[in-house]
């Protein structure tokens, strides 16, 4: 990056920024007006068009192993002379492809519709002084667009004008990053008046996906004046997709359009999360592929061994035709091999993917429909963004949760404060005038009162809170986080809007004590003091909050002309910037508050002299206007200004726990999941929250690894870290051996974590990480405090990539959690259903194909199919797929109530218990057993093929039909045995499938089909049913093949501590 800058030199500007002419007006003083080419405002989220749907979709589908495999088989069947017609594998493939294509086409059609809705949405554009209605997709970069309340922005806009007096507007970005609180955006100064003929250009960076970053510069040209330059930041940029709230109307100039908007850039290139189930299915398929190939090899070899005997290959009754005679021997071997492959190819279940996909697709509806997920407050149920990950919900091993807003309600309440070392607590009885009492120590009344008022003024001034306008009609229905206006409020009560609920709590706290914030009007803040006088302050600068600095400041000017800086922030960021002697008195309070689980903030102030202010002012302005490295420059400036302050006091705000947070945590831990809390809060606060929600329990031994424990005079931090790691790990291991049920909690803070992640010597990184992981994995709960958002993602990534690649789940609500959520396997979810049952198809197909394989030994290895083509084709699609689907959708091995009561049952299914190699092996062995049974049972019956009571004999198709009948009944009944939860749908589908099989067989064999070359099954099924022996053999074979399953159920011994309960409910292990 750096080198490119130096090399490119002058070019760099053209490459890295774009120039926009507001309203497409040429501006004086600039070089000739060149309307630059930008993309139009069309959003294309759809994948396909009518034209490319077929090729593109087919291409995508054939990239899947199974589909590709079947395509190959199909092609082989078309080219080579194979035992089964291409239809047998072509039809299922066609079915699968069609179903998937229809599903994907439908989804894409929905996207098209959504795109159209967005693209054709009427917007108002100011053109040559007139408002013109346009379709959204026709917006060009440089257009001035008007947006009214509750509309979404059609493109990325720079806010020029707002209907609000103070030049702000509120937006919610719920659809972009999930944050539903109101955010304040500002107009560019000095553009308010005359939008119609505003001669201005905007220079800004090229589109980039970071939602929270934007730098630009606006040149406003005035006749006979130097062009005014205004800096543009993210606070001026309104993003496409965000919604305008609480502001009647705004106008803005388009900077990014269509696919270049930040929203579009964010949705692009999002990799599809692939479920672990699909991966393991692929692994199983590979095993079956190996079985398939070895079968084909065995058969081909045996065929040529058998043929080498005189008279076997070509007896007089079965001559080869000329073409066969002419074929080269090796080519023939190869075609024979292919033919065997084709014959046995059904061992790989073509419909499995479809069944799995359908299960997931339909399963997600159940999640959407679940009324227990319905939140009556926001009138929304659960939303499933991708159906690919449903079954992962049953596999979660690690839960990462944010604290604020997730464990707690993010509904702040001002509890107490500490002014100048004295604790003030709000008292319910308003015995004193202000209801504000010192609860400890004697106070010098007069001096203290001054401090008090300064503190309260600071609370009133140092924030970015907006006063909710009264009289707005939507006050009652508008439900937004951080608004206190749900109920009709008495006149003196005010609604506030802010980006963080802490701020509202503080302002409301100050209000309780007599200082009311009245609002910000044209750069002047008004507060009403205890004497009900209105004080006015001119707001000079806002030094915005950011998570790195962890503080914010305002610079205001009082009526009397004094310039004051108020700063509030986390103790760790304030204490180093104030006089040390002030710290001690307050630190005690802060720490006590933190241990009680309150969120603490420190408040400091400083008086700026005129010179000081002048320096700060110019510095800040310059930094804001910088196009390059604005962030760093601003940061440096902020740090420069916020020094040498004096500490006034501290506040404590309570964030109440979410309802049933504790129960949930206990249940999660009971379910064997490891819960990690990742928070930006102070360690003490986070710790007490953890205790409150029972993440840490009384018996939990806490292992701390924080900056404090690292501070050791003798050693360098890193050395100490390593030492501590080893000690801790040793302890954990030792104790976990000696005392079985000792729980460990582990606490680490951001600074230490960054030492772990990025040690000074690169070589140590992996060592540290593995030590860290080992410790964490031995702990039931891990608390990471003081985390930066990126660190959260780092941790998730580290765990995800650790040994065994466990499934991770992240829960969070705020922007700081987004990266963490994207990183984890499962975004958010509470309840899981495992849909892996569909994979049992694989053993269906083994016992389906094994008789076919065995038959080769009896038909001279001639690739003669045992079953009729119709049966081969229909087996997967019609006879067995529906019960499996219904089973995987509706099965409840254990009732919901029991599941909710016994979280430990989760352990049974977690860790892919249902889809590991052991059950897979079991299915395979069972499949082989059944295949052998079916084939040889019928084989012995056919040692005398005179099976009818009129002495007539059965042929090879009767043989196959008997085997197939046994097969269909066995697999369906086996599923019926496994079904623990028989709803009418299960009954319908299971018995319906069997009935359909019987009906189909009669029908298929009942007619001379004109399109068939051979009427192989003509009345075969009916004749079979007329034979008592056939009935008897079918019954006994079904029973015998179900016997192991039944036996296993009865003999299964309970395992593990919880298994006795489980045993009662879980009699079927697989």
């Amino acid at each position: 990056m750096i080198c490119s800058l130096t090399i490119c030199g002058g070019d760099e500007k053209r490459v890295d920024s774009r120039t926009i002419y507001v309203g497409h007006r040429p501006c004086p003083d600039t070089e000739a007006f060149i309307p630059s080419k930008f993309c139009d405002n069309r959003i294309v989220s759809s994948k396909y068009t009518v034209w490319n749907f077929l090729p593109k979709n087919l291409f995508e589908q054939f990239r899947r192993i199974a589909n590709f495999y079947f395509l190959i088989i199909f092609l082989v069947q078309v080219i080579v002379d194979t035992p089964t017609s291409p239809v047998t594998s072509g039809l299922p493939l066609f079915f699968v492809i069609t179903v998937t294509a229809i599903k994907q086409g439908y989804e894409d059609w929905l996207r098209h519709k959504a795109d159209n809705e967005v693209n054709k949405y009427p917007v108002t554009v100011l053109e040559d002084g007139r408002s013109v209605k346009k379709e959204s997709e026709k917006i060009k970069v440089g257009d001035v667009v008007e947006v009214v309340e509750d509309e979404t922005f059609p493109c990325d806009l720079i806010l020029l004008q707002s209907s609000r007096e103070d030049g702000t507007c509120f937006v919610t970005t719920a659809s972009l990053d999930g944050e539903s609180n109101h955010k304040t955006h500002y107009t560019v100064p000095d553009t308010e008046k005359d939008l119609q003929a505003l001669p201005a250009t905007i220079e800004c960076e090229q589109p980039q996906p970071d939602l929270y970053k934007f730098v630009g510069r606006m040149h406003i040209y005035k006749p006979e004046q130097e062009p005014a330059v205004r800096s543009l930041g993210p606070e001026n940029l309104l993003l496409k997709g965000a919604t305008l709230k609480n502001t009647k109307k705004i106008s803005g100039v388009t900077v990014y359009t269509g696919m270049e908007t930040k929203m579009a850039l964010n949705y692009q290139g999002k990799s599809q999360k692939r479920s672990a189930v699909e991966k393991s299915i692929n692994a199983f398929l590979l095993v079956y592929l190996c079985i398939l190939i070895s079968k084909a090899v065995v058969c081909t070899t045996l065929k040529y061994v058998w043929q080498s005997k005189e008279g076997q290959d070509e007896p007089w009754y079965n001559q080869k035709n000329q073409k066969e005679k002419d074929t080269n021997m090796y080519l023939k071997m190869f075609t024979d091999f292919l033919s065997f492959m084709v014959l046995f190819n059904f061992i790989i279940p073509v419909s499995m993917y479809v069944t799995v996909e359908m299960q997931k697709f339909l399963g997600s509806f159940f999640i959407t429909w679940d009324k227990d997920f319905f939140d009556p407050e926001i009138q929304e149920g659960a939303l499933v963004n991708t159906s690919d990950l449903n079954e992962e919900l049953g596999q979660v091993e690690y839960v990462f949760t944010d604290k604020t807003g997730t464990l707690t309600q993010n509904n702040m309440e001002f509890i107490e404060c500490c002014i100048d070392g004295f604790q003030y607590k709000h008292r319910d009885t308003r015995s004193e005038l202000d209801g504000f009492t010192v609860t400890d120590g004697p106070v010098n009344k007069l001096q203290q009162k001054e401090k008090e008022e300064l503190f309260l003024r600071a609370l009133c001034l140092c924030h970015t809170v907006q006063v909710k306008e009264a009289g707005s009609e939507e006050v009652l229905t508008d439900q937004v986080d951080g608004i206190d206006g749900m109920q009709p409020q008495p006149e003196e009560e005010r609604g506030f809007i802010a980006s963080s609920p802490d701020e509202i709590a503080l302002v409301r706290g100050a209000m309780e004590y007599g200082f009311t914030f009245l609002g910000l009007e044209s750069k002047s803040m008004k507060i009403k003091n205890r004497e009900n006088n209105i004080e006015e302050y001119k707001l000079l600068h806002v030094l915005n909050f950011d998570p790195v600095r962890r503080r914010m400041s305002v610079i205001v000017q009082t009526k009397s002309g004094e310039t004051l800086l108020f700063c509030k922030g986390a103790d760790s960021s304030i204490f180093p910037r104030v006089k040390p002697e002030e710290v001690d008195r307050i630190r005690m309070h802060v720490e006590r508050n933190a241990t009680e689980g309150y969120r603490t903030l420190c408040v400091a102030y400083k008086q700026l002299s005129a010179e000081e202010y002048a320096v700060a002012d110019t510095g800040l302005r310059e930094a804001r206007l910088a196009l390059q490295d604005r962030e760093q420059k601003l940061m440096a400036m902020y740090n420069q200004v916020e020094t040498g302050m004096s500490l006034i006091g501290a506040t404590a705000v309570e964030d109440r726990l979410q309802e049933e947070a504790a129960e949930t945590m206990e249940a999660l831990q009971g379910a064997g999941m490891k819960v990690w809390v990742l928070t930006g809060d102070k360690m003490e606060t986070a710790k007490s929250t953890c205790y409150a929600c029972r993440l840490f329990q009384r018996g939990t031994e806490l292992l701390e690894l924080t900056v404090r424990t690292l501070e050791d005079g003798r050693l360098k931090r890193e050395e100490k870290l390593l030492e501590l790691f080893c000690v801790t790990l040793f302890n954990v291991n030792l104790k976990s051996w000696s005392t079985a049920n000792q729980d460990y909690g582990f606490i680490i803070d951001g600074a230490t974590l960054s030492l772990v992640m990025n040690p000074s010597r690169e070589a140590d990184a992996s060592q540290y990480r593995s030590l860290f992981l080992q410790i964490c994995q031995n702990c039931t709960a891990v608390l990471c405090c003081r985390m930066a958002p990126l660190q959260k993602a780092q941790i998730v990534k580290m765990v995800k990539n650790s040994k065994g690649s466990p499934i991770t789940l992240s829960i969070g609500d705020g922007a700081n959690d987004v990266s963490m959520i994207l990183e984890a396997h499962v975004g958010i979810g509470i309840k899981g259903k495992e849909g892996r049952q569909a994979v049992r198809n694989s053993d269906y197909n083994l016992c389906f194909i094994l008789p076919q394989f065995l038959y080769q030994f009896f038909c001279g290895y001639s690739q003669q199919p045992l079953y009729d083509a119709a049966y081969l084709t229909m087996y997967n699609i019609c006879f067995t797929s529906m019960p499996i689907l219904a089973y995987s959708l509706l099965e409840q091995h254990i009732s919901m109530e029991i599941l909710l009561d016994n979280a430990a049952l989760y352990r049974e299914i977690a860790n892919n218990a249902m889809l590991r190699w052991r059950p897979f092996l079991y299915w395979t062995v069972l499949g082989i057993f059944q295949g052998l049974l079916f084939f040889f049972g019928v084989r012995f019956l056919f040692s005398n093929p005179a099976l009818q009571d009129n002495g007539q004999v059965f042929g090879n198709w009767s043989y196959g039909t008997i085997v197939f009948t046994v097969l269909v009944f066995t697999v369906t009944l086996k599923l019926a045995l496994d079904t623990r939860h028989w709803t009418w749908i299960n009954h319908f589908v299971i018995w319906g499938s069997l009935a359909f099989y019987v009906f189909f067989s009669f029908f298929w064999g009942g007619i001379i089909w004109p399109f068939l070359k051979q009427q192989r099954l003509y009345f075969v099924f009916a004749n079979m049913l007329s034979s008592v022996s056939a009935w008897l053999v079918i019954i006994i074979l079904i029973l015998l093949s179900l016997l192991p399953e039944i036996l296993l159920v009865v003999l299964r011994k309970p395992r593990g501590p919880h298994s006795r309960q489980v045993y009662l409910f879980l009699p079927f292990p697989f």
Partner: protein, 369 residues
């Protein structure tokens, strides 16, 4: 078999959502509270436990063992007599015929085998021919037929299916019936004689009706030209299969059993499942209740030896068998039923033992602590 309980989970009452200020105007997105959508459909939840499976095992055992015994007895009561007339042995009367076989010979080779039945065959006797090491289920063989030709289709008669190669055409005339199956039709003639103790030979009447499936004879196989009795005309311009001595329209003099609907032909066309098979040849009907169909005594089997099997090491047999309700003689089913029944019974006993020894302890400690 299963202890079951119907636990219909009741739907909880439809309590309307929070009464919004707008009342009905607010479109609620609350999911429907239907049993299906909430996955609370009433369900039957059978529980398989040792307690429920145990009786099932006993019952299965108690049902299967008698059935098996019945089947075994039935199978044992079936009289079956089998004689190999391949003629591979020097001592065999058919040795000469098997050695001197030639496709071109015009005079049929005949041989006579003598045998005696120790027991009388009381009911109808079914006469089978059996072939061994004959792969009727070979893929090339199985597909080498044209069912639409056999169904009387004129077009297929003139233009047989490609599948019939290399038995499709002969001297530029389409073969009827085409294909390897038809070409290799079994053409030995078997005649049975009863030899009185005093030495007189009486030919036993062999019925050739009713040996093929009814649906095959009446629907699947049809002569070209429908009911036209002149089969020779219907098969004009076609060639006989190369290995046949007579064309298809001369298989029998009875017009109901001639051409494609000849029952011997239909029986042959139903390809066997295994390389050793038997096919129904003739039926010997019981005359009256007084005399057995085939009394004890000596018999002679006169074979017109047309069918070569030596080249592929095949064997030919003649089988006489009575038939019961379960078909021909086959002890397998009976043994299987007895075995499975016994296994179930045995498992039942073992499970009962286990259940008694361990089950009680489990039950007593199941009380939640």
């Amino acid at each position: 078999m299963m202890a079951s309980s119907y636990s219909a989970k009741e739907e909880d009452g439809h309590h309307s959502g929070p009464a919004g200020l707008g009342g009905a105007a607010i479109r609620t997105r609350k999911p429907d509270n239907t049993a299906f959508k909430q996955q609370r459909l009433p369900a039957w939840q059978p529980i398989l436990t040792a307690g429920t499976v145990l009786p099932a095992f006993f019952i299965i055992g108690l049902i299967f063992i008698p059935i098996g015994i019945g089947l075994y007895v039935t199978s044992n009561n079936i009289k079956e007599f089998e004689i190999d007339y391949t003629g591979t042995d020097m001592s065999s009367p058919c040795f000469n015929c098997s050695q001197s076989f030639s496709w071109n010979s015009t005079t049929p080779c005949k041989c006579v085998l003598f045998f005696s039945l120790d027991q009388p065959f009381e009911s109808n006797v079914f006469m089978y021919y059996g072939l061994s090491n004959f792969y009727q289920n070979h893929r090339r063989y199985v597909k080498s037929r044209d069912d639409s030709q056999l169904n009387g289709d004129q077009r297929s008669l003139k233009e047989p299916s490609k599948e019939c190669e290399p038995y499709r055409t002969n001297e530029n005339k389409p073969i009827a019936p085409c294909g390897a199956i038809a070409n290799s039709m079994f053409n030995d003639t078997l005649d049975l004689f009863y030899i009185d103790p005093n030495g007189t030979k009486t030919q036993i009447l062999l019925i050739k009706k009713g040996i093929a499936w009814w649906t095959d004879k009446h629907v699947k196989f049809r002569n070209p030209g429908g009911s036209n009795p002149n089969l020779t005309a219907a098969f004009i311009e076609t060639a006989k299969p190369v290995n046949w001595h007579k064309p298809v329209y001369e298989l029998d003099i009875d017009s109901e059993n001639n051409g494609f609907i000849n029952e011997d032909f239909i029986v042959w066309m139903r390809t066997a499942a295994l390389p050793t098979f038997r096919k129904l040849y003739r039926i010997i009907q019981k005359k009256n209740n007084m005399t057995p169909t085939l009394p004890r005594g000596s018999y002679s089997l006169e074979v017109t030896y047309n069918y070569p099997v030596r080249s592929f090491e095949g064997r030919k047999r003649m089988i006489l068998s009575t038939i019961s309700w379960m078909g021909g003689k086959n002890p397998f089913l009976g043994i299987a039923y007895i075995t499975v029944g016994s296994i179930c019974f045995f498992l039942g006993v073992v499970l009962l033992f286990i259940h008694h020894k361990y089950g009680n302890r489990n039950n007593s400690s199941d009380v939640p602590s």
